[in-house]
Assembly symmetry: C2
Homo-oligomer: 658 residues x 2
């Protein structure tokens, strides 16, 4: 039975939850397919995550391998294929809790970087799991800066082999997933040396474990890097190479080849490869970043209408905590952000699909813009969503702190997204470099890519809003965001030029501007996200209440950004203090409006109880029963040797006799 | 041997590290005592935390109990007593990783709330560990709002007993430490009923486990609440009471008593009791909040001068990451905050000592102010320090994410401090209520407590700074902070009055102002922290470079607060945009100045390698060796059954035959 405090929230929905779910899925047919996958996965006990919060790292790893192997069977059974419509829902349905994800990256690397001959040899082996692959790029001492990698591959003309070494401890490969315990092969990135000359970083296929008995191959030292904040199910590994010899054919050679005599040959354009790496940043947003935020919102909002604490009105029942303005101010902006980022993700996906078409036509014009957008939005979205999950966790008080709430593991997992696939600060500086370049070009009257044409049209006006309702006009707030983005870019460009003109060296000047450059890049992405949300709302069907509630969320997303960052808008007087008070008033009003639909808005994400895996967030809202039942199953409720060993002697005062 | 990249940082210290350590300790003699305690604890293998990151929750609990029992012996051996000068260093030296902390709370409750007779009976039993105590207040459905507790204690005149019940699942006691598996007794808070009349919440001593065999007593259901984000070493528990009968004498009766005939008698003033609860919030700041931030700064800053990544100047060696402005901007404000909060903590300790003296003289005038300060600063400091630890963690990239860095466990532990001993938002609203009250009183010309007299002296001037150097003047920035605190308090007071005058009911009006009230409370605390830091620096001896570097940190703390919250200072034009640019310039300049002393500034915290327990933060900076050596010991590098069970059949294609 559904907790009446939760049930009542659903009776007053201002829109059709089912229609909103279909909108989020991209159509009712997609919803149907997704649900069928979820049903098939969740009804299979092998995929259960029920005991996850009680398991050790070793148990998590074993379960993940078991699931990965079982998934092969399941896909065959269900008739699912890697190219079928179900495929994208499988990983989501598993909540990513499965091994061999790097095996897929191994295969993609070979497909993208390998010659036709290499693809023909390795891809069938990998597809049939006659080997398990990994991808070894990051080193103990080197992450972001690929040119700094220290692993070497020296070509030996005599034997037609490459000799691989990790010459120093900092050169050891560190972090590659599936490599600590599972992989038999990996793609190693190493500095290529031929006849004493260094040709930079290249990829090599290296076997690390025996296919017979899984023992380490000669010259290989490998293992697991140990405990982490999350990803217990993944065997992130280390790898030392000592004079490991691999045949010449194992260097992936679509773009570069070493001929038998040691001649180094470049062929074709690597730009498609570069584009592929860029798209990875976009592809992770949906499953790794948006889903956790949506789950956290679902858990925290459902809990906040079931949890009653303290009294709003004297003499009345204790109030639902979501009725407190401070609780609304914590949670509802996260909900609005989840929707905003869902829509910007759709926009980016489309843009990258278009980019891919152009690039296949050998038109590489879009590349710099796509790189800047993927870098900036990867950083912005991972940062916002990580902060959002943390806010949801904290907003649930003590119960949020229990692993059984599901929130701690959502947080510790999403946090990693700020670091992997490009550390966020580095990425924002990539975006900033693009912005500065485009701003200079635009100032000089040169054409710039579509997403930054606004930098050319600097307006020195003032915000025209006259009352708080004006701030519910997308034109008003979108322009304010645009103004801030232009101002931060132009003022930082000016500072940079001033420094250089005053004699500071270019790289020093750049370093002295980086704090402000990061601000400019964030403002740029925030502006595009607001604009895109407003444009998306515009195009929605007006029926079933969907457009209206999305408009509220769009307004909230925009005004929350202003309210949380008032200085940026007040700085040059574009927005006045009086207008800022209007923003605050409208923002706080919106909280009360959206609060009414908060539960339906998270219901629309359509997470099953099993996928939430949370004692606080279940559809029926029976929070306290769940917590109690679940706690009783904890291994901490088994007999502990601590009693006989320590407590009994202490209590019986026999300690001194021991 | 010390990593040369770290060693070089120590050669250029602008001040005496040893003198700064002594300042932090409160004198060289204190440093000596502290180090002796650390040495004694760390040289004893029973207290080792070496394998902590590899242990399960059960193992952590057992180790904590073992340590707690061993500590009794150790104290006896060393001649340490609870009243001795060593005592306060013991817990810090153990990094809090020990059981029976609630046993101490149990004893304190009896001392404060019990009659002389009760004290005489129970305290000796507890001191000799003939029982193990706990403290059962929080319920599954009730935390902050004590009046809402549902556990009942009904007086039965016939048997002279109280009958205790947790009538609903939400009434179950939940979270009490040491209660899940260890405690034999606990202080239960319950609604007292006599002859059908409810007298509100009272404390009762209840035995929950047999002193003979530790089995649960009749009517008791108790156990461990299961996995949490941290505190694996503590057996936080649950407790169900079903018609549990305890003698009349077990109600703690210093302030209230039920006579044999059921007469309810109040006696004495509970204000000292109330004061005691208030001081707990201050007492946790040092060990639970400041120490973790200081440790995190030590780890992240040492790592940031050892880690080299990418190039600042083309052609040069890769740069230390602390040389990047963005990295400085992440870490150095946290370092400044650690010092700022250390000094405000000293200030609060002194203030509370004075308060205690006054209260013993039956002068309770300071109570409201002390309550407001302890609430506000508990919230402000826990929030800032938690955010600071998280920033340190993220600033270490992938290696920060490894448990071996020590940062994840610092973060997951400090996070709890935002929730326990009063949820932060609730506490800030307590402070805000005090501010509004005092502001109204001050406006009406009535006297107000010393910390808020500034609210009476509202100035409508402008910030007088003319250039960026002016913002290194404590008078300039302290006044700016004061101005913001006054403005936020007065504008929210005005909004509150407007709402009430326009007919909104008082409690609704309050709720509609809470987001802004929280801002006002934060601004108040921030102002006091800045002012106190500036005043502390003023009084420091000018020798040995200490005052100079502390002045830099004070400036950084102040300017970082303005830079991160520009809107508050720009809003009413007190600070102009041009002045804000000066703030930014001075702030960024300061980063480069303090960066030079960053390592000596964390060295001064004087943490041993064992107390940091971090592969990234050790004194010698041998980061990569540590990570590798440590990872090899991980249980994830033992043989896994996953190979024989799943990987081998997969690789050998025998899966289908299984």
């Amino acid at each position: 039975s559904v907790n009446p405090d939760l049930a009542s929230e659903r009776q007053t929905a201002s829109f059709s939850v089912e229609k909103l779910t279909a909108l989020l899925d991209g159509g009712a047919e997609q919803t149907r397919i997704r649900r069928a996958v979820v049903e098939a996965i969740e009804s299979d006990p092998v995929f259960s995550r029920e005991n996850q919060y009680f398991q050790t790292q070793n148990e998590r790893y074993e379960a993940a391998v078991r699931k990965a192997v079982h998934l092969q069977k399941k896909m065959h059974e269900m008739g699912w294929t890697e190219n079928g419509p179900e495929y994208k829902y499988i990983y989501r349905a598993l909540s990513g809790d499965v091994a061999f994800l790097l095996h897929r990256v191994f295969m993609r690397s070979i497909s993208v970087l390998g010659s036709d001959k290499q693809i023909a040899k390795w891809i069938p082996l990998a597809t049939q799991h006659k080997l398990i692959g990994s991808y070894a790029q990051t080193e103990l001492g080197h992450g972001t800066y690929l040119q700094g990698l220290e692993t070497t591959a020296v070509f030996d003309t005599a034997t037609q082999e490459f000799i691989l070494n990790t010459p120093k401890i900092s050169a050891m490969k560190w972090w590659p997933g599936d490599m600590g315990r599972s992989a038999t092969h990996t793609v190693v990135f190493a500095q290529l040396y031929v006849h004493g000359k260094c040709y930079g970083i290249h990829p090599f296929i290296v076997q690390i474990r025996s296919l017979q008995d899984h023992s380490l191959c000669p010259g290989i030292t490998a293992g697991d890097i140990g405990p982490k904040m999350n990803f217990e199910h993944i065997d992130n590994g280390y790898l030392l190479l000592k004079n490991v010899r691999i045949p010449r054919e194992n260097m992936l050679s679509k773009f570069c080849e070493v001929r038998p005599d040691g001649t180094y040959v470049r062929q074709g354009s690597q730009k498609i490869n570069y584009f592929t790496m860029t798209t990875v940043r976009i592809s992770l947003i949906s499953d790794e970043v948006l889903t956790p935020l949506m789950k956290a919102c679902t858990i925290a909002i459902r809990y906040s209408v079931v949890r009653r604490q303290s009294k709003l009105k004297p003499g009345e029942q204790e109030a639902k905590i979501l009725d407190y303005q401070t609780q609304q101010e914590k949670l509802l902006p996260q909900l609005a952000a989840a929707y905003a980022f869902h829509f910007i993700n759709n926009y980016l996906q489309e843009l990258f699909n278009r980019g891919y078409t152009e690039i296949q036509r050998k038109n590489f014009d879009m590349l710099p813009e796509l790189h800047a957008l993927s870098s900036g939005f990867k950083a912005m979205i991972t940062q916002h969503c990580t902060a959002g999950v943390e806010i949801c966790l904290r907003a649930c008080g003590g119960h949020g702190y229990s692993l059984l709430s599901g929130l701690p593991s959502l947080y510790t997992k999403i946090l990693a997204s700020c670091i992997y696939e490009g550390e966020n600060t580095i990425l924002l500086l990539q975006t900033a470099r693009f912005l500065i370049k485009c701003f200079m070009a635009a100032s000089a009257g040169q054409p710039v890519p579509p997403s930054v044409t606004y930098l050319a049209a600097v307006k020195h006006g003032k915000c025209p809003a006259k009352n708080k309702l004006d701030f519910l006009s997308p034109d008003i707030y979108t322009e304010a965001y645009q103004h801030v983005a232009v101002r931060l870019t132009s003022s930082t460009a000016a500072k940079l030029q001033d420094l250089i003109q005053s004699g500071v060296k270019k790289h020093d000047a750049w370093n002295q501007c980086t704090v402000q450059l990061v601000q400019a890049a964030k403002a740029h992405c925030h502006y595009i996200a607001v604009k895109n949300f407003a444009e998306t709302v515009e195009k929605l069907e007006t029926k079933a209440g969907i457009q209206k509630i999305m408009k509220h969320l769009c307004d909230l997303f925009a005004l929350h950004g202003i309210f949380s960052n008032t200085g940026a808008f007040l700085h040059d007087g574009y927005t006045s203090a009086a207008q800022m008070d209007m923003v605050t008033a409208s923002y706080l009003d919106l909280l009360a409006v959206i609060r009414k639909d908060a539960v339906p808005l998270v219901d629309a994400f359509d997470f099953t109880d099993k996928s939430l895996n949370s004692a606080l967030g279940s559809y029926d809202g029976q929070v306290y029963q769940r917590l109690y039942e679940w706690a009783q199953k904890s291994p901490t409720n088994q007999m502990s040797p601590a009693y006989e060993r320590y407590l009994k002697p202490l209590l019986h005062n026999t300690l001194s006799k021991l």
